[in-house]
């Protein structure tokens, strides 16, 4: 059963059929999936959703697939954790972590978009998946392609973190490292996409792919007891996730599943790659691309495709954009680990550190309910903190050796 009517250009409103197309042929604006909300409203209620298995497909009417999911049946419904220890350190009372560092199967929010994209690609008849990636997407496309029995070609910047390379190769994909940054990789991929009949998840079938991340927002609203937070802090790379979380909240509002949405959406970037937050701070609605230089490689996109809409989302919601240095990112990772026992990757260090900054600036207030988005797992970016966590204390296998080091008697 499909609730998708077609595609529509976000810029000029031109309408297209449901096909593998991602850019308006008239004005080059991004295309968006059109849903039949009247019919969805008729079939989808809180009770219907609550009875379904705890994974992202419990919102399937709001996802752009026609049949059953083909891969990743257990993706999503990750914990929304109330983090009182962290809240205390930061000086607020009502703080949550949406923890996609434990998303299934590859430990990042990308499993949501990829499960959607591969299902859609299989529906369109593709047998080969491909992507340009900063790492998390690579892991996910490789893993879920294996599950779906489709071939995959994955393009990454050659200097990516070792664990992200290993965590891609293990699935038996074709991995191609490019001597360049993500924007170079992406540009090359667009040319490759033009010449091969492959489903590039973030190019060929982008409108469908992107909607998978709406489930991150749906889950937050449901897990908070069918309401939205006062604030949400979101890591920004291409700006897709931040716009889709906002879309998710607005769709739930429109469908009557929650009350009025008054959430402030905050964009979080690394200072070494902050085209979106810089535009917000300078009051611009257009992006000046940058050449990234940060340890937060998973969000190092200097020329963000949806940057304009990222800025628009933040403005519309009354939020703001802030960025943090590499040192602050490392401190953010350590702070979350040491207060809450959650080990996130660099992008999570960015959202934690930015939240801290926003609280200090008074933009996030003490009594408000705030959700920090944690989108990836720290085990994948160990290099970023390897020199910053100390080393084990080495002793001889004797009690006396231990006592020499730690002193005292019991």
């Amino acid at each position: 059963m499909s609730y998708v009517n077609g595609l529509k250009c976000r810029e000029c409103g031109r309408v297209y059929q449901k096909e593998p197309l991602h850019v308006c042929e008239f004005c080059f604006g991004p295309l968006e999936v059109i849903y039949d909300y009247d019919r969805i409203k008729y079939v989808l209620s809180r009770e219907v959703i609550e009875k379904r298995p705890k994974n992202m497909w419990r919102y399937r009417e709001l996802l752009p697939i026609d049949g059953d999911p083909q891969v990743g049946r257990d993706v999503g419904y990750t914990p929304l954790v109330r983090v009182n220890n962290l809240a205390k350190v930061l000086g607020v009372k009502n703080l949550y972590i949406k923890n996609d560092s434990v998303n299934h199967p590859t430990l990042s929010f990308k499993d949501r978009v990829v499960a959607t994209a591969i299902t859609k690609a299989i529906e369109f008849g593709y047998d080969t998946m491909a992507c340009a990636s900063t790492g998390n997407l690579a892991n996910s496309v490789a893993a879920l392609s294996s599950e779906g029995g489709v071939k995959s070609y994955i393009f990454i910047p050659a200097d990516l973190e070792k664990s992200k390379i290993l965590g891609t190769l293990i699935y038996g994909t074709n991995l191609i490292g490019i001597n360049g940054n993500y924007d170079d990789v992406n540009r090359l991929c667009s040319e490759i996409a033009a010449n091969y009949k492959w489903a590039f998840v973030n190019i060929t079938i982008r409108p469908y792919y992107g909607d998978g991340s709406k489930t991150f927002g749906y889950e937050i609203a449901e897990q908070l007891g069918w309401r939205v937070p006062d604030n949400i802090v979101v890591p920004v790379a291409g700006s897709s996730l931040i716009t889709k979380i906002w879309k998710a909240f607005k769709e739930f509002e429109m469908l009557g599943l929650i009350g009025k949405v008054n959430t402030k959406v905050f964009a979080a970037q690394a200072s070494g790659c902050s085209p979106v937050t810089t535009a917000i701070k300078e009051g611009r609605n257009f992006i000046k691309p940058v050449k990234p230089n940060t340890i937060a490689k998973s969000i190092a996109i200097g020329n963000p495709a949806d940057g304009y809409y990222g800025i628009k989302t933040v403005k519309e919601s009354g939020g703001y954009g802030e960025d943090v240095t590499d040192e602050e990112i490392v401190e953010g990772i350590k702070l979350l680990a040491r207060t809450e026992g959650i080990f996130t990757e660099t992008a999570g260090g960015v959202t934690v550190a930015v939240t801290k900054k926003l609280i200090e600036q008074g933009r996030i207030k003490r009594d408000e309910l705030t959700v920090i988005s944690i989108t990836g797992n720290g085990l994948k970016t160990q290099e970023a903190v390897a020199e910053k966590v100390g080393s084990p204390i080495i002793i001889e296998p004797r009690l006396s050796s231990f006592q020499e080091r730690f002193g005292g008697k019991i």
Partner: protein, 104 residues
Amino acid sequence: MAVKVRIPSPLQKLTKNQSEVTVNGKNIRELFLDLEKQYPGIKNRLYDESGNLRRFINIYINEEDIRFLKNEDSEVKDGDSVSIIPAIAGGGCVILYRRADLQI
């Protein structure tokens, strides 16, 4: 200056199906004026109603985004290659395919 401009496939209907055309001018603005003169109708696709370059089109001189240079005032010299590239897909994305190719 005679400069080659690469045309993305959605605009090739306007350039008699040519993926590359040669136009004259000393900067991007002049090149696009000449492009419109040679291939009427293309200006509407590149510029919005208020005369600004459309938001989702990126222009490159050789490999460099003109936003790193002087935008439409960026100068060109003989032999340069200019690319008109749709912006979608997590950064500079080229759509050079024809729709028919996607029918699988």
